[in-house]
Amino acid sequence: MTEASKPVAAPGPVRQAEQVGSPWFAPLSARRLLTLTGIGMILVGMIFGDIFAVFILHQNAARVGNSLAAAANAAVAGDAAAVAANFKGTGEFLENRGTKVDTHVHLIGFGYLALMLAIVQPWVALSEMARRRFAWLFLFGGVLLPSGVFLIHYVGLAYSPLAAIGWASIFADLGGLLAMLAAFAYLAGLVRHFQRDGSTSVQDNLLDDRSIAGRWLLAGGVLLVVAGFANGAWYAAADLYRHEAADYTILSQMSLAAAAQDSAQVSRSLQEYGQLQGDKAVKIAAHAHIIEFGLLAILLAFFQPYVNLSEIWKRRWAGVLLLGSALLPVCVLLELRFGLLAGGLADLGGLLVILALLAMWIGIARHTGSLDAAYGGAR
């Protein structure tokens, strides 16, 4: 073996784990921490999203619609004070909705990044201790940001030193900064690796897997991402500018009708506005979810060697994940036409993804148990 092709050895604290075949997934290693916590964050984010979709989203949309209608009707009646009061209510409902969506999106997004950082750990030229500390920093920031965002609606500007930004926002921003610092440190570690050890190979059996479940997830994930891109391109070409123009036109018609005390036109505009918002919401949600589920499937394909389940169950859970990943966005798109039936099926799709992900997470946790037992024996 030449010097250049000499494999990079596992870091100090995990060297003994080489004897059990998983040097990068040893107890308390950065990869194990990022993997288990990353999937946990995705699971919590998804469960939060499902609860939000079932119990809050539609009720909140109805409240937004009602307060907008009340504001428009107050304008018809010439009551400027009531207009302002109702718009304040609309703003609060929109903030409530927006922060819940942001919590869901950011928790899952940081979970995905954690899984990616877990995979690239062998190429990060930092000591195991440093990599573990940055993993903690990333995870702390990744949890702090969505937690802060969630609290924005409830904390408001109470005791805030700033005029427009409350304490919850400040802590959310701090969380983002911490996650960024950790990601930057990993990037620096990768650059260092390529500058110093670029020609040396890294021994990592995680990426050598060619199991059926892994191939299904990889192929299915790529297909979902491609479908999501096609859907996004179609939305941008056919709907984006039409939606923006309609948003402005309908609100203008509504306000002009209110100034002219034309209640019938105000009601028509309110109805059109509600339909427009629904159309926009389902199309954007379908686009975002299909790509995110595609990414998740690809990521989980790489982690299949760590899923300690029988081959048949690994295939079953891969199939369930792909089924749910396709069902949710398709049914979300059909929600405007088929109403609650499609909505219920979309929620079921989300539930299938959550169940499959939970099963894989349990499989990985089982793998850590057997690894630790073997690691203890080797020690």
């Binding site: 504001a71 428009a72 107050a74 304008a75 010439g78 009551d79 400027a80 207009v83 302002a84 718009f87 304040k88 609309t90 703003g91 903030e95 999106v105 997004g109 995905y112 990616m116 995979i119 190429w123 427009a164 930004i165 926002s169 921003d173 983002g176 996650a179 960024m180 990601a183 990993y186 990037l187 990768l190 650059v191 390529f194 670029g198 890294v202 990426l207 191939r215 990889l218 192929a219 790529v222 991402v225 491609v226 891109f229 996004g232 391109a233 941008a236 923006e244 948003d247 402005y248 609100l251 203008s252 306000s255 002009l256 209110a258 100034a259 995110e292 990414l295 690809i298 394909a301 790489f302």
Partner: protein, 163 residues
């Protein structure tokens, strides 16, 4: 690690950092002001309607339209830069399974990285310039991303068939 894989990995993490930095800047310095501006102009429009002042109402709603146009794009840029960055990283990890020559893989990687940078940048520039150039840049970026992704997907499928 191959050059294409390295390019996607480093480019992906750098793009994710760019998206996060932009998001942090936006959250601290621009988002609250943008939301206040949108809410304020919408409320002013309907208050003017209540005061039977259609000219003022139209002006306020025009301000709302402009603020919302910018807000939607600024949020989309953050989401798309990070989303595309994650795609780059994930594809980098599995890039060994793409069945093309190293040269072709490097070309695909450059195309994807370039498109992933340009597409959100074009969207962001639309907030400063409402002409055709930023839209063309966004379209070019998205075409590059879709073309590269289709090529990579084909490379994956070839590998699956061979296996």
């Amino acid at each position: 690690m191959s050059g294409a894989k390295r390019l996607l990995l480093l480019g992906g993490i750098a793009l994710a950092l760019l998206g996060m930095t932009y998001g942090l800047w936006y959250a601290v310095f621009a988002e609250h002001q943008a939301l206040d501006g949108m809410g304020g102009s919408l409320a002013a429009g309907f208050s003017a309607a209540a005061g039977r002042n259609p000219t003022m109402a139209a002006r306020s709603l025009e301000e709302y339209r402009k603020a919302k146009y910018d807000y939607d794009r600024q949020v989309d840029v953050h989401g798309h830069w990070i989303g595309l960055a994650m795609l780059l990283i994930v594809l980098a990890i599995g890039f060994d399974r793409v069945t093309f020559s190293e040269k072709q893989k490097l070309l695909l990687a450059w195309t994807l990285l370039l498109g992933s940078g340009l597409f959100p940048l074009g969207v962001l520039l639309q907030t400063a310039n409402h002409g055709a150039a930023p839209r063309a840049l966004a379209v070019l970026g998205s075409v590059l991303v879709i073309a590269a992704l289709a090529g990579i997907a084909f490379g994956f499928v070839r590998r699956q068939i061979v296996e």
